[in-house]
């Protein structure tokens, strides 16, 4: 790392430390200042804290782009890795990650959407519903490595899927479930009640109402949630670490029962386990991972924004 970067990062952390101490001090002791000035000072520190929360992300993104751009070329994006990832490209790694995202979506989306339909349209306010809601809330907080253990024991070993794309997709789907349910539920709840009542009033059954009135209205919200969920899944490392990701494979997975390469696992291995790895290649892998994950985040934001615009026009 060059001198300038070291200095700038040191300064950033110095500001970070000073600001956090100052915020605490300000909150605890009453400074002997006039009220106007103390308000000004307080707001400056609040603003500083906000900058400290927001700037590191931008720094990480910009820094990764600057350092990774040098590695990105045609060979890098279209070749298989060679010499333990030191040469060649990362095409099969990218493909592996997309397979994983598709697999996760395939399992998590139908179950997640159906579960949210149950919770919004059918469930009564009873102990079972409360239990389901509690389970969803807690599922979201289960550590990713624990999902890995679950996937290893159930999908890899008990179901005999072996270390495979299928086992990893199922594991990630279980993890993504909470997010898919929460976001689709919100989208379905946002559909005005009059729509349902209108449909029921002309003699349409409940399921038909859900299928033809509620779901189409909630679709943008559901898509947003699904896209966010698979973007998270694409970045997960710990669950696939134990359920089927491999560092170097001679070929692409030919069936769901094969092992696969994936971007986050590749980044982990080249950064932490391959000696003599060039910095440029590492940053290149990091940049591709960041682009894959964040582009889906941006996509979700666009879908949400456009559906909101449409809602405003109406």
């Amino acid at each position: 790392m060059d001198e300038g970067t070291t200095v700038s990062i040191s300064i950033a952390f110095l500001i970070y430390a000073v600001a956090s101490i100052a915020v605490v001090v300000l909150a605890v002791i009453k400074a002997k200042m006039t009220r106007r000035i103390s308000e000004r000072t307080a707001f400056i520190f609040l603003g500083l804290a906000t900058a400290l929360a927001a700037l590191p992300v931008l720094f990480i993104i910009v820094y990764t782009i600057i350092n990774g751009a040098g590695a990105i070329n045609w060979t890098f994006l279209t070749q298989a890795p060679a010499q333990a990832g030191k040469a060649g490209g990362i095409l099969p790694v990218i493909i592996g990650t997309f397979c994983l995202m598709l697999g996760t979506l395939f399992f998590a989306l139908p179950i997640g959407v159906m579960a949210s339909i149950y919770l919004t349209e059918y469930a009564r306010d009873n102990w079972l519903t409360r239990l389901i809601n509690m389970a969803i809330l807690n599922l979201a907080g289960v550590p990713s490595i624990v999902f890995g253990l679950f996937g290893l024991s159930v999908f890899v070993l008990a179901f005999h899927f072996g270390l495979s794309l299928l086992a990893a997709s199922l594991t990630l789907a279980c993890q993504a479930l909470a997010m898919v349910i929460t976001t689709s539920r919100e989208a379905i709840l946002a559909v005005p009640r009059e729509y349902r009542e209108g449909s029921l009033a002309i003699g349409v059954t409940k399921w038909q109402t859900v299928r033809h009135v509620v779901l189409p209205q909630a679709l943008p919200g559901i898509i947003t949630g699904a896209v966010l969920a698979i973007s998270r899944a694409a970045g997960e490392t710990a669950p696939i670490l134990v359920t089927g990701a491999a560092f170097l494979l001679p070929s692409l997975p030919a069936s769901p029962f094969d092992q696969f390469m994936a971007l986050p696992y590749h980044l982990y291995t080249v950064a932490a386990h391959v000696p003599g790895m060039s910095r440029t290649t590492m940053w290149g892998v990091a940049l591709v991972l960041l682009v894959v994950v964040l582009s889906f985040d941006v996509l979700a934001a666009i879908v949400r924004y456009r559906s909101r615009q449409r809602g405003l026009e109406r």
């Binding site: 009220r35 609040l46 927001a54 931008l58 289960v142 973007s231 490392t237």
Partner: protein
Amino acid sequence: MLKPGTSTVVAASNTGDSLRRRLRLGERFIEGWIFLAGLFAIIVLVGIIAVLIKEGLPIFAHSSPWQFLFGTKWYPVSEPPTFGILPFFVSTLMITLIATAAAVPIGVACAAYLAEVAPPRIRETVKPVIELLAGIPSVMMGFIGLILLSPLVQSIFHLNTGLCGLTAAIMLSLMSLPIIVSVSEDALHAVPKEFKEASYALGATKWETIRHVCIPAALSGIAAAIMLGVGRAIGETMTVLMVAGGALAVPLSPTDPMTTMTAAIASGIGNAVRGGLQYQALFAVGLILFVMTLAVNLIAGRVLERQKRKFAR
């Protein structure tokens, strides 16, 4: 001549009935599936608990719970193997504490700024940026910690290696910020406008209102936000696996290299023989980890629920 006509009508209504009945049956079928899907979250959660207990508990036949929890030696492959998880437990505790201590002042101040002070334009720009932080993969944060932060920590504190608990804690504090900010901000937003208006009417400045009215009123929500941040830090795996150093001794200072519970599972499970002692021991670590995060999340959920009811109108 009337008869055939009547029979046609009857027949028509008959087909209508059977069609409706068939539709109804189809719907019942679909609704059954929907109910099953609704239960799926419970099935997965119970499945996780069952798996952790089934695979993890047998270790206590080999070493007593006391030895397991408070033993300081983790030698899974020596003869005979010993499994003491105290080093992992202490590491997890230490890193989580430091990360939370660093993230809470910044996070709460940021939430207060966004909820009460910031002009709408800044608010609308900063919020998505902080949400973006939540979207950055943990392996990416580990990579940044490994490449950028650890040399810095090493040179500032004159350490043998920058891969230590402190480096991991700094990265984790960043990673627990988004949830602390967003949940605290929601809590601040939920404070009724009348509270603030009453405070202004008494002549308080905006800052005094934030400090003495808004934050105390939202305190339980902020506490829940902090707990969720703690849960996040306890469960984070890749970042600590990459930057915490991986030493197996009980850490004495934050600048020691260490292995957290999550990192111990992630680094050990690949080599563990299925059903062997190490395998069982790692599942038992997973069980303890799960119980810790479950407790934190349950309490946070309960607190949030109560906060919501407090200001419900």
